[in-house]
Structures are given as structure tokens and as C-alpha cells.
């Protein structure tokens, strides 16, 4: 009897030691992505947000982006055209302005622009911030709502050919949109009040004349300086830009 118990106890101790070094399972926090592939995670909205749905099909796994298409590095391409310069160019020759300052998305696609400038916030209307630009009767509008679509990607000149497939290419848009919402809009939203001075760089799709006043931008860089010119320089400064 005692020998049998000793054997069982020995086996139990040996099993415990084995489990200590080779655990049967690991507990990891939800969302903890050790590989840093947040780009991949953002490509699966259907799965992440529709957990209760009946899904019968397995989605093919998207591969890693090519180095040329790494979204983080694309912020370095954000060389905007001055908004006044763009307005002047459109006034002279709209076709030439599109050709010179815009980027056409594929065959027969719209023209996208990366635009920079500064002005004073005139009003905040829900998710839209209206800005007056010195020396111009026209206005700029910053879109602070939900960011969807490919406006940022196209305006920054990301090319489909740099990616192995269109899913990876589209994942760049998802990642850019996430960065704009989290890193640019969220930290600046409360500071964007009437009277504040704003330096902005943003992306827009421009078609006809109606898109020129106001020019509505998805902001990718913002610097907000307190209230109007009289207090500029003395107030606190907040800025945001897509990380390099």
C-alpha cells in the first residue's frame, strides 16, 4: 500500500516538474500581438466586430506587406501643396492643376491631393472644422469624423504595384485611417476651437469647382496654437503627425 502511494506521489511530482518547464497552455491577454503585425489585425473588420455572426468560410491569410509598402514610412512622403497655390492653379487651368499637383488613382480614377496651409478656425460644425485662410475668400474644412476609404493612401502616392496583392494594398488604407483617427484627430479634437490658429496638412479628393470651396481635408498633420493671432505664441501648443 505505502509502496503504491509512494509510486503515485513520485509520478505526480515528476508530472508537476514537467508541466512547470513545459506548460500545457499559455495565458495571453486579448489583443496582445507579439509579432507587431497590427496591420494584419486591422484588415479583418468582419471577424473582429461581427463575432456573433454565422461565418462559414475561412478567409485567406494576408501576407506581410513589402518593405516598399510599409505604411509607417509613407508619412515621409507627405509633401503637401500650399492651399493658396493650389487654388490659384485651379483658377488658371483646372486640368493642368490636377496633372501638376494631383495623383490619379488608377485608370479613369479621381485625382487626390496632399495640401498644406495655415489659418484660423472660424467655426466647428459637428465633425467639421471650418478654417479661414489669410488673404483668401475661400475656406478649408477639416473632417474629424469616421475616416474610411483610400483618400490618404492615394494622396500620399502609394502604388498598388508595391504590394503583392490588393488586400495588402487596401490594408494600408485601413492602417492610415486608424492612425489619422487615433494619432491626429483624437489628441487635437478638444483644442480645435473657434479662434485657434491651425497649421495643417491633409488629403482630399478634388473633382469639380464645388470641391474647392471649402476644400475638405482628412488631416494627417496638425499644429494647433491657442486662440487667434493676438494670443498666438503665448498659448500651449499641441501637434500631431503620422509617425515616421
Amino acid at each position: 500500500m505505502s509502496r503504491r502511494w509512494r509510486t503515485l506521489s513520485g509520478l505526480l511530482v515528476a508530472f508537476s516538474i514537467l508541466c512547470w518547464f513545459l506548460p500545457l497552455f499559455h495565458i495571453r491577454p486579448l489583443g496582445g500581438d507579439e509579432t507587431g503585425q497590427d496591420l494584419q489585425a486591422t484588415t479583418e473588420p468582419a471577424r473582429s466586430q461581427q463575432a456573433g455572426a454565422t461565418q462559414t468560410n475561412a478567409e485567406p491569410t494576408s501576407a506581410e506587406p513589402t518593405s516598399a509598402g510599409a505604411p509607417g514610412s509613407l508619412a515621409l512622403r507627405a509633401k503637401g501643396t500650399d492651399v493658396q497655390q493650389l487654388w490659384d492653379a485651379f483658377d488658371q487651368d483646372a486640368v493642368e492643376a490636377r496633372k501638376q499637383y494631383g495623383r490619379q488613382a488608377g485608370l479613369g480614377g479621381a485625382f487626390y491631393f496632399c495640401i498644406t496651409g495655415q489659418g484660423t478656425i472660424q467655426s466647428v460644425e459637428g465633425d467639421r472644422v471650418m478654417i479661414t485662410v489669410d488673404g483668401s475668400p475661400r475656406r478649408v474644412c477639416l473632417e474629424l469624423g469616421v475616416v474610411v476609404g483610400n483618400t490618404v493612401r492615394e494622396a500620399l502616392g502609394v502604388k498598388a504595384s508595391d504590394f503583392k496583392n490588393s488586400q495588402e494594398f487596401n490594408a494600408v488604407s485601413t492602417e492610415f485611417n486608424r492612425q489619422v483617427e487615433q494619432d491626429i484627430i483624437a489628441p487635437n479634437r478638444d483644442r480645435l476651437q473657434p479662434g485657434a490658429l491651425v497649421q495643417f496638412t491633409g488629403c482630399a479628393k478634388l473633382g469639380g469647382q464645388s470641391d474647392l470651396n471649402p476644400i475638405c481635408l482628412v488631416p494627417i498633420q496638425l499644429t494647433v496654437q491657442g486662440h487667434d493671432t493676438s494670443s498666438a505664441g503665448t498659448s500651449a501648443k499641441a501637434s500631431g503627425e503620422l509617425p515616421p
Partner: protein
Amino acid sequence: MFRLPTVAFRSAKVAALRTFAERTTTIFGTFAERTTTVVILLLVGCNNVATNSADIANKDNAGSTSSPNTNSQDKPQRVAVIISTLNNPWFVVLGETARDRTLELGLQATLFDSQNDTAKEAEHFDNVIAAGYSAIIFNPTDADGSIASVKRAKAAGVPVFCIDREINANDAAMAQLLSDNYSGCVELGKYFVEKVGDKGKYIELLGLVGDNNTWNRSKGFHSVVDRYEGLKMAAQQSADFDRNKALEVMESLLQSHDDIKAVFCGNDAMAMGAYQALLAAGKAEKVQVFGYDGSEDVIQSISQGKITATVMQYPKLMAKTAAEYAHQYLTAAKRDFEQKIPVNVDLVTQANISDFAGYGKKE
């Protein structure tokens, strides 16, 4: 002396015959190779060429010097148009436009139907390469499964121009013209929320799960709709871009989901199938259907208020451009094509339906 059997093989045996012949070529040298080529050339003429282009295929006359476009070796400049399926009117338009534009440009053209079967598609490639075609305009069946065929063509010196569907490789095809499906479904998603509202249940019918277009459309749509917590996807199932399958799937789903407000379909064929199922269940008035493609029957259905919206792809633009690229490659030695070329798409609703006809804008 090695001699190939002279009995007529059915198309399904072509690949096996070629594999067998390739092995024997190493043993019997050039004689077997030439014999194999002759047999395959004979088989090409009687297998799997789409019936509606048989007359064009018959015009192909190996060794003929009457063609206006010939290369330095006086070989005929022939272009193969290999389409994933001709069982869907949208793809018929795609294939026939590519073929017709190629003919307009003075080249020979033959249309092949892969019947959504990667094996059949590979067989077409083998035949086309062996028959000495100069270029291929290609609508793949599978983003991964079709890569090997394109690489075989490239190795044989035959350029491939992909249209509408892509392959997951940048180093195989000469160029790939692809509808901007993601953007199209972002716009469709916005309109979906506008029409359905920000609360309620809906069903999504996916296309072929191996096709990137399926997921680009789905992800574009969800990038908008998933931002509204009140919109719940009750079910998501594949109907393979097929109208009849969509009808069956929808009938089945309606048994367990009778409280849906809308159906988002990855193409128009499935939208028509879903609408048919809703009509039979007496729910066509209550449930809004959204498609994708811009096919003739859906454009008509939008104007009649049966389907809520679709996204217009431009199959004729893609097909014509691919034919022109092939022509430039063959006659002007152009090689610097952009690898991936997105093609613009447009949202079609009752508000702008007057601007559109089936498969494009009104001319």
C-alpha cells in the same frame, strides 16, 4: 522507335499526355518533342474553345503569313483570351470585348472558358503555350492557384495581362488591370448605412473565397458598416458569385433569419439570386438588396426599385485596355507596364441610374 498513339484524346487527357510526353522527351529527344507539339496542336483545335468563338479559332491558320502583324520569324501574332467562366454574363462581356478589341487591332484572338476550374485553366495555358500563341489576356480563377500557369507562360516567353482578378504575385504577369473593389464597396457601405439606417440585421453573401475581389469588396463594405454598432451581420456565407447558389443559400438563411433589413452581395448575379429568394418568401418589399458589378439585369432592377444599389465596374474598359497593352507589347516592343493598375468604379443608385447602362456608362 517511339511513337505517340494516334487516337483522339479528350481534353481532360491533354495535361496527362503532355506530362507523359515531357518525360519521354528526355529519352527520345527532339523527335518526341516535335510529335508532342503536333498532337497538342491538333487537340487545341477541338477542345474547350468557347463555342461562340469557334469561327475565330478556325480562322487561326498555323504558319499563315496573311496576318498583318507578324514577328520576325513570320509566326502569326495570336492572342488567347482565357476567362474564368463564361457562365456569368459579366464575364462574357469581359471576354468578348477583349477578343473583339484584339481583332480590331489586327491580331488573331481565341476565347477560352476555364469554367471556374483551375485544372482546366492550367490545361488551357499548356495548350496555348504549345500552340505558339504570342500573348494571353487572362481572367484568373484563383489568386494563388493561377500563379503557376502564369509563370509557365512567362517562362515560355508569352506575356500575360490579367484583367479584373489578380494573382498574388508581382513577378509573373506583365500587367494586372483590377477594379478598385475596396473603394467601390466603401462608397456602397456609406450608401448602405444611409438607406438601411444605423440599426438592424443584415446578411452578406460572399463570392469565391479564393478570389481577392471577394475579400476586397467585403472589407471595403465592413470598413464602413462595422463602425455602426447597431448594424449586425446576422449571417455571412459564400455563394461563389453564382446566381443559383445565391438563391439556394438565401432560401436557407431566410429560414433562420426572418428579421433582416438588407442583403449585401459580392456581385450582381448573387444579388439577383437573393432577390429571387426574397420575392418567393414575400420579403422583397421589406429587405433591401445591394449588389456589385453593374450588370444589365441589376441596372434594370435598380430603375424598377427592386435592387437598391450596385457598383459599376467597367469590364469593357479593362478588356479593351488589356488588348491594347498586348498589342503594344507585340507590335511596339513596349515593356514598361505598371504591374498593378486599379480601375475606377462608380456607385449606381436610383439617383444616378439614368447615367448608366449595363456594364458601363450610357454612350
